[in-house]
Symmetry: C2
Subunit: 326 residues, 2 copies
């Protein structure tokens, strides 16, 4: 499972960070999922390997513009790039009105079906052959969720001792069983895939949060997750100064929570535009990292636009910067 | 009068060209006008000297997404950057539904008044202390106009011989007359500014077209204009292959028209994303320039994102590339 940050800034874009969007790639050669779609997401995608034709579904955590204003342009460009496959859009209800009005007012006809799924508060919202996606409600100024992506249909190992013991000849039946399908032999015997194969590893699981002032709401959801991607809009000191109204998390809050559930990997994102990499007088993004590091002892990352991460089958998370691949 | 291209690509953004938007600066230290607002316009502005607080008005040529999808994000960011001045938005009617639905659905409250003016087919649509803006209808798949910007309130030269002849003492009255204001002297005489001052140059005039397959519709509008900025989506050969349905102009069409009205300066923009600066196998943007140059003998430019142009009081147009200023 691999994910790429398309935007890591809160509220407004900066020169080096766009507003929120994340591409999650898993299963099949180039299929991927988009989580949130701030303005300019389609522009960011031009600098990645992801194509709008191979996009499998879009998930929106909440209605705020910095997470959703990129939808009309991205949907129109998907059509202009020749997409014909239906596209599921899993989003809160007002997003439907926004998208439909934008496309109608601006005379855009899509060459594919846009399939809206309104997320509710609970449980499974969507799945395909590769991932199962559930939601967890968060606490923000508008209804907001985290999406939990769990991989499906893990590869099976054939239990060859058992197959030989039961006199099942090597051949196409073995292949079918390994693909998870039950088989009827010529002699009439029914072989259950589950009886002759085993899944030998844990399914990978990534939780992608929306905006949220209460990370502890994710306790259940994160208990067996391998990665949490969560907003950390500012440090605790700035958060205290700003007050609770914006309903965002501080680095300290998220870090304390991640430590309390012994989360192996925490990736912080959605930084206030006041944080700069280097700008005279502006607070430095390192302040966020330093604060989080004081309270969280697992693997900590601060997201940057275009950084790629890969969660291997070994459950280890690795960062692949664009330079690594050239 | 100075203008900066914020986007020069048709339909979809490319890696080096955003979709359409143009910043026109005139009058006062940093006041400016935005013509069209494709997605990502606010991102482009981050790389210019223009601030959303000093934006005087927005003009939209037509409803298509590549000219309008950047509005909700730009309007929200203007609010977040502290704007409180009302902002006029001169646009076709459906833009109002789009913007209002987007802001409402995405829970954005603006900290300033957005003042909608629906453009009609005719004449003056808007003016302030610095410019007068009229429209000219174009021919496209949806209602579309060109905006003609003419500078107002040109500087006046005092007719000192006349003032002395009439025994008007040098002093504050001279200053008032020069500012175009009539004056009542202590002795009761009323002095008309027009009688004691002269405007010694022609007002500068720039025409900014929307999408259009019939440049000749701009004949009247362009007769005494100094600059025409017009789309040239492809060459005539590509236009013939594509057919008339998209209702765009070829380089040849625009160039022939500009030549026929002896237009001094023609800036082409809105190029199909098929044109690349250098990309193996893709047609080169030079093809557009070469074709236009065959039919137009005035000053021809092909717009690039972030290029600045200045139309001086001497009515000469100069290109200022970002490098020129560093």
């Amino acid at each position: 499972m691999r994910f790429t940050f398309l935007g890591t800034s809160a509220g407004t874009p900066t020169k080096i960070r766009n507003v929120t969007a994340l591409a999650l790639q898993h299963g099949g050669p180039r299929g991927w999922y988009l989580i949130d779609c701030g303005e300019g997401t389609q522009h960011q995608l031009l600098h990645t390997r992801h194509s709008l034709v191979q996009l499998r579904a879009i998930f929106i955590t909440h209605v705020h513009g910095d997470h959703a204003f990129g939808l009309p342009g991205l949907l129109a460009s998907a059509s202009m790039s020749g997409r014909t496959e239906p596209l599921p859009l899993i989003a809160p209800a007002p997003i439907r009105a926004f998208v439909e009005t934008a496309l109608a007012a601006c005379d855009s006809q899509l060459g594919y079906e846009l399939a809206f799924f309104e997320w509710g508060a609970a449980d499974l919202v969507w799945s395909d052959a590769y991932v199962e996606v559930t939601t967890a409600p968060l606490s923000h100024r508008v209804p907001c969720v985290a999406f939990r992506f769990t991989e499906k249909n893990l590869e099976r190992k054939l239990l060859t001792d058992q197959l030989e013991f039961d006199d099942v000849e090597p051949g196409p039946a073995w292949g079918e069983l390994q693909r998870g399908r039950d088989v009827v032999l010529n002699d009439g015997r029914v072989l259950k895939s589950d009886a002759y194969t085993a899944i030998t590893r844990e399914p990978r699981c990534i939780v992608v949060g929306g905006d949220n002032d209460s990370p502890e709401l994710l306790r259940e959801t994160c208990l067996d997750a391998h990665v949490l991607i969560h907003e950390s809009t500012y440090t605790q000191a700035v958060s205290n100064r700003v007050g609770p109204a914006p309903q965002h998390s501080s680095a300290e809050q998220v870090a304390r929570f991640a430590e309390s559930v012994r989360l192996p990997n925490l990736v912080l994102t959605h930084f206030s535009s006041r944080y700069q990499l280097s700008h005279h007088g502006a607070p430095h993004i390192d302040e966020i990292e330093f604060e989080a590091g004081r309270f969280y002892k697992g693997n900590l990352w601060l997201a940057r636009d275009f950084d790629d991460y890969e969660l291997g089958k070994d459950l280890i998370l690795r960062r692949i910067t664009p330079d690594d691949e050239e």
